[in-house]
Amino acid sequence: MASEAELRLRERLSKLRSLPLLGGARLSGELERLQRQLDRMTAEPTDEEIWRSVELARHADRPYTLDYVARLLDDWFELHGDRGRADDGAMVTGLGKLDGRTVVLVGQQKGRDIQERTKRQFGMPYPEGYRKAMRAMELADRHGFPVISLVDTPGAYPGVAAEQHGQGGMIAQSQALMARLRVPTVACVIGEGGSGGAIAIALADRVLMQENAIYSVISPEGCAAILWRDASQAKKAAAAFKPDAAHCLELGVIDGIVPEPEPAAHADVDEAARLLGESLRDALDELDSFSGDELRRRRRAKFRSLGIFA
């Protein structure tokens, strides 16, 4: 078993090396990290390691979107409101400069204390939040600014008003808009990539994941409640559906893993931001050579190829 997993990772690595998207030496740090991981690893991540990712991704001190904004973007100007009915605190959007280049950033935002958590709905946007993100992305498209999207949500808000305001439809429309954009887009899951609430802003040219982030179709608790009929089986559920970055990379769902300082991003936020900034810059540089139409065509082709069947 162990050697089989090792072989798979070796194969993955050799593929990564030959992929033009990794732009030769630019992502060599990442390759090295993967190589390290291979050396260290004789088997797939164990159930314990997967659960550790779940806990780290939800760690109370884990850096959130605005922590990275403060460290990565100059001249940050936050854009508020969806121009319809609300300013959703769970979704942050704005303009800023990344290495002197104007970008639009969208991302979910959680809160640190109870007031902020309430204000930001624990990072769970209403449809208004997705419309706010769409508004910012449309602005980016009009002016040719790249879009950076930071994903960190347990999921879209599950409430009566959210349903009445069209939660499902808005998530679909936000994806549809991203499938139409003619500017470079990079998404990175920086904590929890929870289901539809996450993919709504993650249909990007390059999708990255931080080392200890998780990306999943349902929360481990939700999955356990449905399939095991017992929410306390979350650990088992997580082990079964494998939301960790290594597995997402293996399945082709993400394009790269962004390293975190040891033991995880919250231990050294400045260093975590530096590493994230490096990966975002590399990804944007690679995308620069493509025209708008080409970006769009390749983006759609990439997502349309996802899935495993016989």
Partner: protein, 279 residues
Amino acid sequence: MAEPHIDVSIETKDVPPAPRRDPNTCPSCQSHYRDDELEANLWLCLHCGHHFPMTARARITSLADTGSFVEEAADLRSEDPLNFFDLRPYTERLAEAEMSTGLGEAIVIGQAAVENRSCELAVMDFTFMGGSMGSVVGEKFSRACDSAIERTVPLVTVTSSGGARMQEGILSLMQLPKTVCAVEDLHDAGCALIVVMAHPTTAGVLASFASLGDVSLAEPNALIAFTGPRVVQQTTREKLPDDFGLAEQNLRFGHLDAIVHRQELRPTVARLLRLFDGE
């Protein structure tokens, strides 16, 4: 002798299981029917008009002109990329679903004509693992888009789904962007998408292609919600309105174009096909 049992629970997290109901008994007026009676009447209650769930095959028969349906991609089958095992292995669940429904997956696609207008049909089947969307459902829906593009005809899709298929993990979530991209290609090619939401259209399917129709129709009383009433109730403890998530509420809030009674569905779809034909 019966076991002595004293219930000391103050509040129970578990909702008591709904009493087992015969699938052919009308939940709103309790009338009971034989299969052939329902089949002869579009699976509608003869007494009160309740819409019983319809299988994909029955739906296609009711919509398409006789003999016009040519199925496509019927041989696609799900794999088990995660070796998923909950209480039972995923492969076992798949095999059982195929045995009991006679379908290869939770969606059937193919070319058809409705009142002599050509179109592509993509019809979901709730009886196949709750109509859940995994890799094969995503792929077949995308191929239906391509087939419509190739012939420059509209795509008519009937949705009925509990959402993404958890057993395929993150790959099932990726079927959302996949089907969205396919719809965008369809729209770029100038083809229309007509969506008919049958009970229930929820979660991942609602949050992807089902919400992107040029025209959105729904059947009466269909549950159309991203998050279902039970989860909303449990997470937020909000009091739910009586018609929470139903087609009627969705129409009132502006998320649908019309609620169409099943008897009117075929003529309505035909009218829309004529309208999109531009003649």
